[in-house]
């Protein structure tokens, strides 16, 4: 195992140098360096906020079932099949029919794609229909729910992105997590309060009339007026909603000397709004945001221009936030913040300092100990260790991996454990030297005989690291990344760098005294 062809030696050197080259871009100011890659620092090192949001799908599922109920009722009316007693149960729609129509209805749910869409991708219907005690029970299938969740998540992530972008934080990362979650990473943000309050609101804006009598066809509901604190009876008929808005911005109203949000409507919205204000002069128009009335002005004039103002005792900040929310659009469902981790930039800096300091100290201690134990071969092992570290950093840079505080711990641990392979080899060579006169053979045997133990040892560690990578979350994942890459670079540095140097030395000193202390 001591022979290296010239080609092999050159490839090893080229490989090491290129990785070292990658790692160097982390240490220099590389504005004009053609390689712009750097190791990403995790939020725990550079400071920042991590938010995990969960989309609350239940309101949307209820909504879906509600409209399904209407659709099904109309469908059978059109088909002239008598169905009755429609009810919205818990996560299901219930209805009855004449006994002799039951078969037919069940058949239709299987065959009519309009009534019960079939998803080819999932090989499943959207709804499950069962007849229990002469009552039809319509429930969403597993994939029906997934379908809703996915479109919900797609919409929500879009709105979240818009809102976060509007606040203008530095390189935010917004990603899906699982089937109903959104992970938001905001590097450098040490106070996520504003983002949290922006993401915590659905921002569902509607303009509706305040009515005295209950509106026959649409119904009405009692909502609280934030301005006056009293409850008003508001029609459920929506005149225009946030969807009709094309712009919104905070503005100083010079007449009343207060901050307002001015908005511009799209053409359809402007037409609707114009018609409603024309018919409703003298009526009170409620501006409803997330089921609370912001204000309820009395209509004095036709507003045909398609623009208007919302006043509601805003501060400049709250008007700015509302305008931002209206511009970015309403969330399809409320978002719950189920996890939040914020690290201040000074703590991150302290962590980097502490991590690097302990890395340097650990490194020096290990190097001194190895030199003390093995002298010349200790130097070889130490040289391999240094190259190993640079290669590890080179790989992390190349993959643009995220370095976290536990990740630094993984590197330090790599330093401690990396020498293990060389120790195994050196100890074995020592034993072989006692038995074998020919030094080259003794060294060769040392390498060969220790190989299985080294492989076993490293495979077990890599198994542990991979499992951690799959199940670990957050910064801990960074530990498994550095540990696993560390093992690979360690094996390379031991078998190619240290072995190359050892073999060069041994072959040169074939006839002299060679001992490992």
């Amino acid at each position: 195992m001591l022979y290296f062809s010239r080609l092999k030696i050159i490839s090893i050197i080229v490989f090491c140098l290129s990785l070292i080259f990658f790692s160097i871009s982390n240490f220099i100011n590389n504005e004009d360096f053609f390689l712009k890659k750097k190791v990403n620092l995790g939020l725990d090192l550079q400071g920042g906020s991590y938010l995990l949001l969960e989309v609350d799908k239940n309101p949307v599922i209820n909504q879906t079932l509600q409209s399904k109920l209407t659709q099904v009722r109309n469908y059978f009316k059109k088909k002239e099949i008598k169905t009755f007693d429609y009810k919205l149960g818990k996560q299901k729609v219930l209805f009855k029919s004449d006994t002799n129509d039951q078969e037919k209805i069940l058949e239709l749910f299987k065959n009519d794609n309009e009534l019960n869409p079939y998803f080819d991708v999932y090989k499943s219907y959207q709804y499950n229909v069962e007849l229990i005690d002469n009552i039809f029970e319509l429930t969403l299938t597993k994939y029906g729910i997934i379908e809703i969740e996915q479109s919900l998540l797609d919409q929500a992530i879009e709105i979240v992105r818009k809102r976060v972008d509007e606040v203008g934080t530095n390189e935010p990362s917004i990603t899906k997590s699982g089937s109903n979650r959104i992970a938001v990473e905001l590097p450098g943000l040490d106070n996520p309060d504003r983002i949290k309050s922006l993401l915590g609101r659905t921002a569902n804006l509607t303009f509706r009339f305040v009515t005295q009598n209950t509106d026959a066809s649409f119904g009405s509901e009692k909502l609280k007026d934030l301005d006056t604190g009293e409850e008003l009876n508001v029609s459920k008929r929506i005149i225009i909603s946030g969807d009709n808005l094309i712009d919104a911005k905070p503005q100083m109203d010079n007449i009343n000397n207060e901050t307002v949000v001015s908005f511009t409507l799209d053409r359809l919205g402007a037409r609707k709004f114009g018609r409603a204000t024309k018919n409703g002069i003298g009526k009170q128009l409620a501006i409803v945001l997330d089921n609370q009335i912001i204000s309820a002005p009395v209509i004095r004039d036709v507003i045909a221009s398609g623009s208007g103002q919302i006043s509601g005792g805003f501060t400049f900040q709250s008007a700015t936030d509302l305008a931002l929310l209206l511009r970015s659009g309403a969330l399809p469902a409320p978002l719950d913040i189920i996890e939040e981790r914020t690290v201040g930039p000074d703590l991150g800096e302290d962590s980097i300092k502490a991590g690097v300091l302990s890395l340097i100290i650990g490194f020096i201690l290990v190097i001194l100990y190895m030199f003390y134990k093995y002298r010349l071969f200790g130097l070889i092992s130490n040289f391999a260790l240094i190259v190993n570290l640079f290669m590890l950093l080179g790989f992390l840079t190349l993959f643009e991996a995220t370095l976290t505080l536990p990740g630094i711990a993984g590197i330090i641990l790599t330093v401690g454990m990396a020498v293990d392979a060389n120790v195994l080899i050196f100890e074995r060579i020592k034993e072989e030297l006692k038995k074998e006169k020919n030094k080259v053979i003794a060294f060769d045997n040392g390498y060969t005989l220790s190989r299985t133990a080294i492989l076993d040892a490293n495979i077990t560690t890599i198994i542990a690291a991979l499992i951690l990578f799959v199940f670990g979350s957050g910064p801990v994942k960074g530990f498994s990344v550095t540990l696993s890459i560390g093992i690979l670079t360690t094996l390379f540095s031991v078998y190619y760098i240290a072995r190359l140097l050892t073999s060069l030395y041994v072959i040169k000193n074939k006839n002299n005294e060679v001992t490992i202390k």
Binding site: D193, I338, V343, S358, L365, A453, A464, S473
Partner: protein
């Protein structure tokens, strides 16, 4: 020919001691339990730094006590003026919670800042705990399977008992000292599993090699010989790993203290168990050259 040091003389004694430690650890784990951090228990953690040197822990605790927080704990955290405050929170969804908390706190404290805030909801913490337990269980299973492939079943059992020993006693010590269990401790436990396995495998590798070489040496002495032959490697690797870990423990900052402490315990226990637990198991199973031959048939 059994090696310089007679480790095998202490097999019985060490096994009794280990058994006692193991049972005590189980006892602690059952009756005292583990001190889960917010990662696994849910709740809020705040790392607070105050520049006012007159404050004592009681002052900080007093201030937070006035805020009506459930399950409040206030502890010093490393450097002077640094504290970790933990409490339970009923409503994670109130976006202004931290802002309001700061406003209230301003009445009682000055010159302070929040360096770190972590909020973990009950759903997430339950999932994280489950993931942690699953990860450790899978790691153990994977090790068992790996060594089963590489060695005979007697070896496999020896290694797994050794790993269990290390993990349970490490957790037992964490329970005894009420040290916090968080995500990084799970990482530490997994690494301990890998390390302990590693140490055991190196010795087992030598045992198997020697079994083939010396038909006339009984397993009792053969394990001792193998331990001796690999002893300097075992010690040197433990020393270098411990040097690295001690460096993290003393210089790596408060956040990594628990992690490095768990690892230090694990490395010491792992080194001990690979000699004094894994090997006696081979003796109890009366492993001999025949064991290897039978397997190869």
């Amino acid at each position: 020919m059994t090696g310089k040091y007679l480790f095998n003389k202490y097999y019985n004694l060490s096994n009794i001691i280990s058994l006692i430690l193991f049972i005590m650890s189980i006892f602690f784990l059952i009756f005292k339990g583990l001190n889960y951090g917010v990662d696994f228990k849910g709740g809020t953690l705040i790392e607070l730094r105050s520049d006012n040197t007159n404050y004592k822990t009681e002052d900080i605790r007093g201030a937070f006590n006035k805020l009506n927080l459930d399950d409040l704990s206030v502890k010093r955290f490393g450097a002077e003026g640094d504290y970790v405050i933990k409490f339970k929170r009923s409503d994670l969804n109130e976006p202004d919670f931290i802002k309001n908390l700061k406003n209230d706190l301003d009445n009682y404290l000055e010159d302070y800042s929040f360096r770190r805030v972590e909020n973990v909801g009950p759903k997430v913490s339950a999932e994280l705990l489950q993931d942690g337990v699953t990860a450790i269980a899978i790691a153990l299973a994977a090790m068992l399977i790996y060594i089963w492939f590489r060695f005979e079943w007697q070896f496999s059992i020896g290694a797994i008992i050794a790993i269990f020993h290390d993990v349970i006693i490490t957790l037992g010590i964490f329970s005894l000292l009420s040290l916090e269990i968080n995500l990084s401790i799970v990482a530490a436990v997994l690494t301990i599993v890998g390390y302990s396995m590693n140490d055991t495998v190196v010795i087992f590798d030598r045992v198997r090699e020697n079994l083939k070489k010396y038909a006339d040496i009984k397993i009792f002495d053969l394990t001792n010989l193998s331990i001796n032959e690999t002893l300097s490697r075992t010690l040197i690797t433990s020393v270098t790993t411990l040097l690295a870990l001690l460096s993290i423990f003393f210089f790596g900052g408060e956040i990594l203290k628990g992690f490095s402490f768990a690892m230090i315990l694990g490395v010491i226990l792992g080194t001990y168990s690979s000699i004094f637990i894994a090997n006696p198991v081979l003796v109890y199973f009366k492993v001999s050259q025949k064991t290897l031959i039978k397997e190869e048939d």
